[in-house]
Amino acid sequence: MSAVRDVHTLIVGASLSAAAAAKRTVDAGLETVILERKELPRHKICSGILSPRGYRFLLENFGPLPREALHEPTSCRGVTFHFPCLIPLTMDFFGGTTPHLHRKYSDYWAIKRSGAEVHDRTSFVGLEDKGDHVMVRARSQGEELTYRARQVIGADGPSSLVTRVVYPDYPKQIPWFFVGQKFHDIVDCPLDQDYFHFWFHPELGHYTWSHARDGRQIVGVGFKRGDNFDARHKKVKRYLEDKHGVRLAGHEDEEGCAENFGPSLIDRYVFGKGNVLITGQATGFLNMIGEGMSCSLHSGAIAGEAVVEARLHGKPVQEMYRRMIASEVRRTTDQWNPLKIAFGRPHEADFPAALLALSWRERRLVVRDIWRFLLLYKEFNWGRQIGALALQRLVGNGYPMQRWL
């Protein structure tokens, strides 16, 4: 076994949230190492449609995006919601179009711009929090490595190994979904390429989307884990052809991953324990159209800030993190809060305005279809929790921290 490497902050996963966290710790002069199990730049499954808020964060913290970090089309103008009643609801993002990130290169660019030291092809194996430091075990090309860090930040995605080490039972406590996308050559596609398309259709699945990428069309489906990806996908492809005239050739590539949809809806985030912070999508942060990158960037930055502030003020890092992350919890869970949706503007596109632009008859049909879609989630018993949280939000300035892990 090699010698123990001492660092101040060790970040697991070379994601956007890791880059944001590293940016904060490196700026403050803290020695920061990022572990990544793959070789960089690495592939990442993602729609790549970043929200404008996320884009501004990238720009202000890492500088102008290089062209290589973008897919074609390079931008996305907004979102179109589709319903069984076939009334489309198109909404432009506030503030203009937003990037269609090529995650392989955008993540690599952000990681490099953060200034942190990167150990790629190095897998996280386990950790032990000793109170004043954390011992981390890793493996690189068969070699066992040991790190001694003041703090560890887990930024390793929805199926976070760091979370599993800190909370072994956590994966059993939440429902898991599978999201998969297949890439098709286009024969004919009337769907507007400038928009991300999402279907509120209970028969298609929990999360159904399509958009253009590099001359091909992505057809994506999300469903409760255990169902059949191919069957789900086939059904959606046929639906798009029947109802929208989308004619696609057979797919050549496909990819999929596990996804944790629930925590943002019901304020059941996981933020870590002791000197181990969990951040990014590993916490459960997800915006309403399933966009997790902007939450990842901001929560990652907050994790890095918590490390810096805890050091400066001699306070426990977990306490700092939880107090600071409350703003991101508020922003994200507001997007799922029915009262906020009805009377506020929690999203980065104006859903109420788009709905009000329809005739009364069309509005009724759209609302009916949304309600039928929501019933798909009935089995998870989230409805009452969302209602109770919405009422608590009315009287308080945020959501209860006691629900966080």
Partner: protein, 518 residues
């Protein structure tokens, strides 16, 4: 993948789309850390020239942020400034080795302007002597790292006083001249930068130069309100005046609009020697006026007092009691106001600083109050600067933003008398281009206390305030650093590019305070 390096000031085309993030420049405002190429040779050269470079990490760490606490950076080394010659040597070496130099006075910036994101941090507090006081001409010559509190102390021994200084007197003179400096006597005397008669400046290429409106005027115009872009101010000659105690007077309002209208009326009429507005949220608004002489106070009473729409303390207290009696659900807010009043008011009337109803030692009184009751662990004070006619709208809209973000906050409004002969100084600065006669500034300060907030929340709040400035065509007192994206948006590319060309000519390696404006 090649990661492109982007030179300071360069705004590349956006590969995303021309209409992405409409209006926001493609600019990294939270700077990347300079990677240190050239540092070892640079540090070795300084050491060989007898300049001590502090490189111990625990010492460098004390400079890792500013009063704002939202930007962090770690310099590779720190030098305590000792002389103009030493500063000149440093800048010449920095040009040769292309090492960024960030200059810091009191470190009271709030947007990271005095934070070094790598490179050398030049701490000016080592140059803090008063060089000469000319009692006949009423001028003082001082080294630029001196704090206003120390300068005031030296002047006071001779019965003299500064003209206008920032409320926070642990600001350095040099730093203040570079950014403005606003006080309750600015409505009459202008900002602190307007009091500078002549400067000794070390240019970015290391020349030690004297400048004023009549000597090297172009350099003088760019260095005053120049945010450290065109030289390091090492010495300054300032106008001063005979010392006088103050007689303070307070009027209380429940409407921001009414209080501001009264403030502007008083200032147009030169009714008082000092004036400004301090608030507790938008509930208790205090218009303060003060006088240098009994004669000025008597003139005010005869001509202006009756026309003011504010109440006295007792009358206002009764109105507030009635207001909250009818709104018991706002009890928490009422208790906050009461508690703050009990803490704050005695501070302005401490017996050791009052004689015969007049405030002596205003320097101490203001500075103590600022540190004790404004700000907290970090100072978050976005602001808006506008012409007189846009000011009420700016304050009302900013006030609405404060309410949206924080339960408790305070506003500080003050006018700045503009000098027509100083128009060239004001270009690309906190002074709004459309202001005539007076510019007005309002600081919006949440009372954070020891609460912990994410930088994202604080930055979102600041952006919401700064966005109002764009809508209204105003400017900002906090000008640069992490809000520098707003400079291009407020002033347009043409003006910024012109100043950038001047900067590149004066500072070929773009080493001096390079992350602040461009």
């Amino acid at each position: 993948m090649r990661i492109p390096d982007i030179e300071p000031g360069v705004i590349p085309p956006d590969p995303v789309a021309s209409d992405a993030l409409i209006g926001i420049p493609r600019q990294q405002t939270n700077p990347a850390r300079w990677q240190g190429a050239g540092w070892p040779a640079f540090a070795a050269q300084l050491t060989a020239e007898g300049i001590e470079v502090i490189d111990a990490s625990h010492l460098r760490g004390t400079f890792s942020t500013d009063a704002g606490g939202t930007a962090y950076g770690m310099p590779h080394g720190v030098v305590i400034a000792r002389s103009s010659l030493q500063v000149s040597t440093i800048l010449k070496a920095a040009q040769a080795h292309r090492v960024p130099v960030t200059v810091r006075g009191g470190g009271l910036t709030t947007e990271g302007e005095s934070v070094a994101f790598g490179g050398l941090l030049l701490d000016m507090t080592g140059m803090s002597r008063v060089i000469a006081i000319d009692t006949a001409k009423l001028q003082v010559r001082a080294q630029a790292g001196i704090f206003w509190a120390s300068l005031a102390e030296s002047l006071r021994r001779l019965g003299l006083d500064y003209l206008s200084a920032p409320l926070n007197l642990t600001s350095s003179v040099g730093g203040t001249l570079g950014v403005g400096g606003i006080d309750v006597n600015s409505p009459r005397l202008g900002c602190s930068a307007d009091q500078a008669i002549a400067l000794q400046v070390v240019t970015p290429t290391g020349e030690i130069t004297e400048c004023s409106d009549s000597e090297n005027a172009e350099l003088f115009q760019r260095v005053i309100l120049g945010y450290g872009q065109f030289g390091v101010i090492t010495e300054a000659t300032l106008s001063i005046r005979p010392y006088t105690p103050l007689k303070m007077r307070y009027y209380y309002y429940s409407s921001l609009r009414t209080a501001i209208e009264d403030l502007q009326r008083l200032e147009r009429g030169d009714a008082s020697d000092y004036s400004g507005i301090l608030t507790m949220m938008d509930k208790a608004i205090t218009l303060l006026v003060a006088f240098d002489s009994d004669q000025r106070e008597a003139e005010f009473d005869a001509r202006w007092h009756a026309g003011l729409r504010g109440s006295g303390e007792a009358g206002f207290a009764l109105r507030m009691a009635a207001h909250y009696a009818l709104r018991p659900w706002n009890l928490k807010e009422a208790l906050f106001l009461l508690r703050r009043k009990r803490q704050l008011f005695p501070e302005f009337r401490r017996p050791e600083h009052m004689r015969d109803g007049k405030m002596h030692d205003r320097t101490v009184v203001f500075s103590r109050a600022v540190w004790k009751f404004w700000g907290g662990r970090q100072m978050v004070i976005p602001d808006l600067a506008t012409s007189a006619d846009k000011f009420v709208e700016a304050v009302e809209r900013g006030n609405a933003v404060c309410k949206r973000y924080f339960p408790y906050y305070t506003l500080y409004c003050v006018g700045i008398r503009l000098r027509e002969d100083h128009r060239p100084h004001y270009e690309l600065s906190c002074i709004p281009p459309d202001a005539q006669g007076w510019a007005y500034g309002c600081e919006f300060e949440p009372l954070l206390g020891d609460d912990i907030w994410s930088r994202d929340t604080l930055q979102s709040f600041k952006n919401a305030i700064y966005d109002i400035g764009l809508d209204l065509g105003g400017s900002y007192y906090r000008f640069g650093g992490m809000m520098k994206g707003y400079i291009r948006r407020a002033f347009g590319d043409a003006l910024v590019e012109r100043h950038l060309a001047l900067k590149r000519k004066a500072d070929p390696a773009m080493i001096l305070n390079r992350d602040v404006i461009f």
